[in-house]
């Protein structure tokens, strides 16, 4: 199938919206992406036709949602090429996935004096859960730095690793810098010492092909809403050996084998980690998103986005005084910058009034801001429904904003 941008844009009715009397141009896809009609219809279908609690009833609707819900596990397994469907756990998002691993892994494997390694460019969601765990277990956190181009300094990793290192958690794509990290190198170094690695794929799954077996990561996490699916759904892939050895994160229905007041035994994976009624509607919506992306073809989407991002960088570079953050040889569709000393908040406000949505601020990655000693950046993040025309309009508007604020 040809990559037909006009047809694709029709699948996203929200792209037609006008705000402040002008067509809204949305460049905040890294925060959350728009949903195609196919996803909306899948969600509507659940509420209008199959509202049954999966795994719980003998009745028709319960069975129907069970089938559709479990089918998404297969879709996710294929999507990231996981070895088995049982290693896919549904959560409510990347943040919950990381918290689950941080809590359950640390209960089994982290003790006083141990160490956890994260990187300097992590989102707060991949820092704070580890800090909480380290506080609780009297363990410490070590940090892999990045250089001024936004390149993760993997060469520093061997000296950070010690006998006490229990887990390493690194992002595949930085949500601020857009740098695509060489996580295979991190994993290879870690595995030499038998240390498991968690990869945060929140900013990666929508932009680069994922193969968790080739990558050989021990855990991989991502969110549905950044992948054109509903909010409130995320995934955790974990190698069976780890998931089996980790205690449950939340207790409740579904995750048990047998309950009595003298003791409870737990279900097997993935159910051990899916306590309570699952977010089946959102999960089924995510399945529709994956089907939709497959129907266009991930290769085509990635190729189009990469060209669009290159074009955007080239056009933005024509603005006097622009400074990019994240200039590695391997960049994603996320572009962070400031212009002269104009505050990102002022720039974002003016752009908003001109009907452009960009993200401004520290992007929940304050250590990155501290690295560059800046209060924040303006971030443009593109999706495959964005166009060169939108970028041209944006750059023209940005030039006006810069003139007004200089």
């Amino acid at each position: 199938m040809k990559f037909d941008i006009k047809a694709i844009r029709k699948d996203f009715p929200i792209l037609e919206r006008e705000v402040y009397g002008k067509r809204y141009i949305y460049f905040d896809n890294a925060a959350t992406a728009f949903k195609p009609l196919q996803v909306l219809k899948a969600v509507e279908k659940i509420y209008t036709q199959f509202n049954g609690n999966p795994h719980r009833g003998a009745h028709y609707m319960s069975n129907q949602t069970t089938v559709e819900f479990e089918a998404v596990r297969d879709k996710v397994q294929q999507f990231i090429n996981a070895p088995s469907r049982e290693e896919i756990i549904f959560t409510k998002g990347t943040t919950e996935s990381i918290n689950l691993v941080a809590y359950s892994f640390s209960e089994a494997f982290i003790h006083e004096g141990d160490e956890v390694i994260v990187s300097e460019m992590e989102h707060h969601a991949n820092i704070v859960p580890w800090q909480i765990v380290c506080e609780r277990k009297k363990a410490t956190i070590k940090v892999i730095p990045f250089d001024d181009s936004g390149r993760l300094m993997v060469e520093k990793l061997p000296e950070l690793i010690s006998e006490k290192t229990k887990i390493i958690a690194v992002t595949l794509v930085s949500n601020v810098l857009g740098a695509i990290n060489p996580v295979e190198e991190v994993i290879a170094i870690a595995h030499e010492k038998n240390i498991p690695v968690l990869i945060d794929g929140a900013q990666a799954v929508q932009h680069i092909a994922i193969d968790v077996q080739k990558m050989d990561c021990d855990f991989f996490v991502f969110s549905g809403h950044k992948l054109y699916g509903p909010t409130g759904v995320g995934c955790l892939y974990g190698k069976r050996q780890w998931l089996d050895a980790m205690p449950p994160f939340l207790g409740g229905g579904e995750m048990i084998e047998k309950v009595s007041f003298s003791g409870t035994t737990f279900n097997v994976i993935p159910y051990k980690f899916e306590a309570g009624t699952p977010n089946f509607t959102e999960v089924i919506g995510l399945g529709a998103a994956i089907d939709y992306l497959n129907s266009i073809g991930f290769d085509k989407i990635f190729h189009y986005e990469q060209e669009l991002a290159d074009y955007a960088r080239m056009k933005l570079d024509t603005i006097d005084g622009i400074r990019f953050f994240g200039q590695t040889s391997h960049q994603s569709n996320v572009i962070s910058f400031i212009v002269n000393s104009i505050h990102p908040y002022d720039m974002g406000m003016f752009l908003d009034k001109m009907s452009f949505a960009v993200r401004t601020g520290h992007h929940c990655a304050e250590p990155v801001m501290d690295h560059f000693k800046i209060p924040g950046t303006v971030r443009v993040s593109l999706a495959f429904y964005n166009t060169r025309d939108e970028i041209d309009r944006f750059v023209d508007a940005l030039k006006k904003v810069v003139a007004m604020l200089s």
């Binding site: 505050h343 990102p344 908040y345 002022d346 974002g348 406000m349 003016f350 009034k353 401004t360 601020g361 520290h362 209060p375 924040g376 007004m404 604020l405």
Partner: protein, 140 residues
């Protein structure tokens, strides 16, 4: 002038703008017009941390009225700080405690005070009032 009178004065000033660009240009002008906060007051104790921008606020009470000084790193926020301080400066603490800063809504800038903007302004309004409460207690 009372707090209410100053608010009415600001509303009248802003009523001439029918274009957002003119309004914001004026706001930035006001921000640039405020006296730079002395470096000695730019300490963590006076810092109101927002997610997007930061605000510094210092206050003193002399002869029964409160003197505030503030600054922000973002121009738009600085303009709003200028407006807020114009309303509360040199007013009795008791008056400030009960003030309702309705002018912000009237001049169409309420969005900057929403918790989602997290630019430090909402926290600043709270801090303005907390200072007033403290001074009021000291004076009574």
């Amino acid at each position: 002038m009372s707090i209410e009178e100053i608010q009415q004065e600001i509303i009248a000033e802003f009523s001439v703008f029918d274009d957002w660009m003119d309004k914001y240009s004026y706001l930035i002008e006001l921000g640039n017009g405020i006296e730079a906060l002395d470096e000695k007051y730019k300490v963590d104790q006076n810092l109101i941390r927002g997610c997007q921008s930061q605000v510094w606020l210092n206050a003193e009470c002399r002869d029964g009225v409160v003197y505030y000084q503030g600054e922000s790193d973002a121009l738009i926020v600085k303009g709003l700080v200028a407006l807020l301080l114009r309303v509360v400066n040199e007013q009795p603490a008791a008056e400030i405690i009960n003030a309702d800063f309705h002018f912000i809504d009237s001049i169409g800038l309420k969005e900057h005070l929403s918790p989602t903007r997290s630019n430090g302004l909402l926290a600043m309004v709270k801090q303005i009032k907390l200072y007033a409460v403290a001074f009021n207690k000291m004076n009574s």
